[in-house]
C-alpha cells in the first residue's frame, strides 16, 4: 500500500501493463515527448521506446481508426483522446467501427482497444474542453465504459480495461489528477464492472461515479451532521453496469438521488434513475431525483462554471428536502 496520486496511479497502471504485455501500444497527441497533456504518460517513451509510445499528429479520427485496426491484428492499443470533447471527431471510428465490428462480422473480429480520455469541468476551459460526454458512449452498444473516482480505481480499472476483450472507453476526470489516496497494486477495491458502497447508510441512497463521488461523500458528511445517513454508491463502470448494488440499497432506503456531472437531459442519470425506478418501484417512498449538470454548454466564467454542475451543497440540500421536507432556499 502506497500513498500516491490519481495521475501517478494511471501512469503506473500503463507502465506495469506495458511491462507485462508487449502488445500494448500507446497512440495519441503529446503522449510521448510531452508526457501527455495532463502528464499521465510521462516517462513511458523513455522506457518503452517510440515503437510502442507513438506521438500522433492532430488527426483524431485516424488515431482512433488506427487503434481499431491495430486491435484487430494482435496489438492492444491505448488511444489517447486529449479531451473527451473531441469525441465528436472520433465517434464514427468508435461508435460505428470499434463498437460494431465484433457484431457485424459475426463474432470473428474483436477490437480489444482502450480509448483513454478525460473530461469534466474545473479549469475554466470553456464549452469545448469541459464536457462530461459519457452518455454518448453509454448510448452505444458494444462499448465498455469505466470512470474511476479514486486512486486505487485509477490503477485497477485501467489494468482491468487492458485485458477486456472489447473496446473500452476509459474516462478520467481532469479535476482528479492531483487527488491523493492509497494505492494497493495487489488488491483492487472490487472487480471490473462491480459497483461499490463507499459510505454505508440506512436513510437515503446516492448513486454516482467519477468526481461526483467526492461531492456526494461531502454531502453525506453534511447530512450525517443532521442525523441523516446517506449510503453513497460509486458505480466505477457504466458498462457493464452493476444494478445489484444500487437496487439492494434503494430497496432498503426507499429514497435515492442519482448524481452526475453530465447534463441531465438524456444523460446517464436519466438511465440510472429509470432502471432503479423499474426495479424498486414498490419500495420507493419518493421520486428518484436526478442531480445532474445544467442543460447548458459549460461557460468559461469561473463562478458560472461552478454553478453549472452539482455541488456537495446542492446534493445535501436536496437530500434534506427529500428526507425531512426541509425546504432549501432555492425551492421556496
Amino acid at each position: 500500500m502506497t500513498e500516491t496520486t490519481y495521475r501517478e496511479a494511471l501512469r503506473s497502471a500503463l507502465e506495469d501493463a506495458m511491462a507485462s504485455d508487449p502488445t500494448i501500444l500507446l497512440i495519441g497527441e503529446e503522449v510521448g515527448v510531452y508526457g501527455g497533456a495532463y502528464g499521465v504518460t510521462k516517462g513511458l517513451l523513455d522506457r518503452f521506446g517510440p515503437e510502442r509510445v507513438i506521438d500522433a499528429p492532430i488527426s483524431e479520427p485516424a488515431i482512433v481508426g488506427a487503434a481499431v485496426g491495430a486491435a484487430m491484428t494482435g496489438s492492444r492499443p491505448v488511444a489517447e483522446l486529449m479531451y473527451v470533447d473531441f469525441a465528436g471527431l472520433v465517434m464514427d471510428q468508435l461508435g460505428n467501427q470499434a463498437a460494431k465490428s465484433r457484431y457485424m462480422f459475426g463474432g470473428q473480429i474483436a477490437v480489444p482497444m482502450v480509448l483513454r480520455t478525460q473530461g469534466g469541468t474545473g479549469r475554466s476551459a470553456a464549452a469545448q474542453h469541459s464536457q462530461s460526454l459519457e452518455g454518448w458512449f453509454l448510448h452505444t452498444p458494444g462499448l465498455r465504459l469505466a470512470m474511476p473516482a479514486t486512486v486505487n480505481d485509477a490503477y485497477h480499472l485501467l489494468r482491468a480495461a487492458l485485458v477486456q476483450p472489447d473496446p473500452v472507453v476509459f474516462i478520467e476526470h481532469k479535476g482528479l489528477y492531483t487527488l491523493k489516496g492509497p494505492l494497493d497494486r495487489d488488491r483492487p477495491d472490487a472487480d471490473w464492472g462491480r459497483a461499490l458502497v463507499r459510505r454505508p447508510g440506512r436513510d437515503l441512497t446516492i448513486v454516482t461515479y467519477s468526481r461526483m463521488l467526492h461531492e456526494s461523500l461531502a454531502a453525506a458528511e453534511a447530512l450525517a451532521a443532521q442525523g441523516i445517513e446517506a449510503e453513497v454508491i460509486d458505480l466505477r463502470c457504466l458498462n457493464p453496469l452493476d444494478e445489484a448494488v444500487p437496487v439492494a440499497s434503494l430497496r432498503r432506503t426507499g429514497r435515492a438521488m442519482v448524481v452526475s456531472e453530465g447534463v441531465m437531459t438524456g444523460g446517464v442519470a436519466a438511465e440510472l434513475s429509470a432502471r432503479l425506478q423499474e426495479l424498486c418501484f414498490d419500495q420507493l417512498e419518493e421520486p428518484i431525483l436526478r442531480i445532474a449538470g445544467e442543460d447548458i454548454p459549460i461557460p468559461v466564467s469561473p463562478d458560472l462554471e461552478r454553478a453549472a454542475i452539482p455541488s456537495a451543497g446542492l446534493i445535501a440540500e436536496a437530500g434534506l428536502h427529500l428526507m425531512r421536507r426541509e425546504v432549501a432556499a432555492w425551492a421556496r
Partner: protein, 348 residues
C-alpha cells in the same frame, strides 16, 4: 470603450503610412498579449488556457489584405488576428477574464471570442473546427454577390486534420471566395511540425487541391502582405487561396507550458525571427519613421493596453442566471435551472 488610437503622423512617414500602420498594429498585438500573460499572473484570467500569439504578428500582412465586410474564423491562438481586424482590447481582455462586458458576455473566454459586427465568426478550441465555416460563408458571399471573402486562420497543427482537406476541396470545386491562412509557428503543443508531418510543404498540398497556394516568411510583414494581396485578389474573383505565414512561437503553448521540449538555443534562434524588430529596422532604414516616432508608437501601445487591462480587471462578472441565456434564441424559453426543477418535484 477604447478604439484604436491613431498616432499623429510624423513628417517622415507621410510618403507611405501603410507599413507604419502595420508596425503599429503588430506592436499593439504584442503589448496586448503581454497583458494577457500579466492578467493570468494576477489571477484575473478565466483559467490558464491562454495562447499567446507573440512572434506571429506577421499575420498582420494577411489581415491588412482583408476588407471591411470580410469575415473570418480563428483557432485558439487568435487574439492577434482579431485585434488586427479592429477589436476593442478592453472587451477582449474582459472576455478573457470571464467578465460580463466581454465580447461573449464571459461565456466563451480566450478560445471562443467572436464578434459578428467585425466579421469574427468565432475562435475555436477544436483544432480545425472553424475551418469549414468559411466554406459556408463563401457560399453565402458567392450567392449574395457582394464581393466579400471569408478567411480561416489556423495553426500548423490543423494541417494534419482531415476536415481541412474536405474544406479545401469544396472551396476549389465550387470556386468560392475563401482564403485559408495557416500560421505555422513550427509547433503544435510540444510537437515540432517535422514530427507531425512527413512533408512540410504545406502550400503544395493546397495546390494539389486546385487552390492558389503560397508560403511566406512571417518575420517580414511586408512580404506577407504583398503575397496576401495576390491571394485575396484571386479569392475575390472566385479563385480560393492558401497562404502560409511561417513564424516561431516565442512562448509556451499555453500559460502552464514552459516548453521543456525546446532547447534554449533553438528558442533564441527562433526569437530572432521577430516581425516587429524587423519591421522597425526596415522602417528606419527606408526612412519611413525615425526611432523617436517608433518609440512613441510603442509607448502608446503600452499605455493603451495597460488601460484596457485595468478596465477589464475592474469589470464585473456575469450574474449566475446569465448561464441559462444564449443556449437558444431569446424569444424562446431558456433551459429550466436544475434547482427550479427540483423544487417543482419536491414541492409537488
Amino acid at each position: 470603450m477604447t478604439g484604436p488610437e491613431t498616432a499623429a503622423a510624423p513628417d517622415a512617414v507621410a510618403r507611405n503610412t501603410a507599413p507604419l500602420e502595420r508596425y503599429r498594429i503588430m506592436r499593439r498585438i504584442r503589448s496586448f498579449e503581454e497583458r494577457v500573460g500579466e492578467m493570468f499572473l494576477r489571477g484575473e484570467s478565466a483559467g490558464s488556457m491562454l495562447h499567446l500569439s507573440i512572434g506571429e504578428e506577421g499575420v498582420v500582412g494577411v489581415t491588412d489584405a482583408m476588407q471591411e465586410g470580410d469575415s473570418f474564423t480563428t483557432h485558439h491562438r487568435g487574439h492577434g488576428v482579431f485585434l488586427a481586424r479592429g477589436a476593442d482590447p478592453a472587451r477582449m481582455l474582459a472576455e478573457i477574464g470571464g467578465r460580463e462586458s466581454g465580447y461573449c458576455r464571459g461565456k466563451g473566454g480566450s478560445m471562443h471570442i467572436a464578434d459578428r459586427a467585425l466579421g469574427h465568426l468565432g475562435a475555436n478550441a477544436i483544432v480545425g473546427g472553424g475551418i469549414p465555416h468559411v466554406v459556408g460563408a463563401g457560399l453565402s458571399y458567392r450567392n449574395q454577390g457582394a464581393g466579400q471573402v471569408s478567411v480561416a486562420f489556423f495553426g500548423d497543427g490543423a494541417m494534419q486534420q482531415g476536415i481541412l482537406y474536405e474544406a479545401m476541396n469544396m472551396a476549389a470545386l465550387w470556386r468560392l471566395p475563401v482564403v485559408f491562412c495557416c500560421i505555422n509557428n513550427q509547433y503544435g503543443m510540444g510537437t515540432r511540425i517535422d514530427r507531425a508531418s512527413a512533408s512540410v510543404d504545406f502550400a503544395a498540398r493546397a495546390a494539389a487541391f486546385g487552390l492558389a497556394g503560397i508560403s511566406t516568411d512571417g518575420a517580414d510583414v511586408e512580404v506577407v502582405h504583398a503575397a496576401a494581396q495576390d491571394i485575396f485578389a484571386g479569392a475575390r474573383a472566385g479563385r480560393p487561396g492558401f497562404i502560409e505565414v511561417s513564424a516561431y512561437r516565442f512562448h509556451g503553448h499555453a500559460r502552464m507550458d514552459k516548453s521543456p521540449y525546446r532547447t534554449p538555443e533553438e528558442e533564441a534562434e527562433g526569437r530572432r525571427r521577430d516581425p516587429i524588430a524587423n519591421a522597425r529596422a526596415r522602417l528606419m532604414a527606408e526612412g519611413l519613421a525615425d526611432e523617436a516616432a517608433l518609440d512613441r508608437l510603442d509607448a502608446e501601445a503600452t499605455a493603451e493596453m495597460d488601460r484596457a487591462l485595468e478596465s477589464a480587471v475592474q469589470a464585473t462578472m456575469p450574474p449566475l442566471h446569465a448561464m441559462f441565456e444564449d443556449v437558444y434564441d431569446p424569444e424562446t424559453p431558456a433551459p429550466e435551472p436544475l434547482r427550479r426543477r427540483l423544487a417543482r418535484i419536491l414541492n409537488a
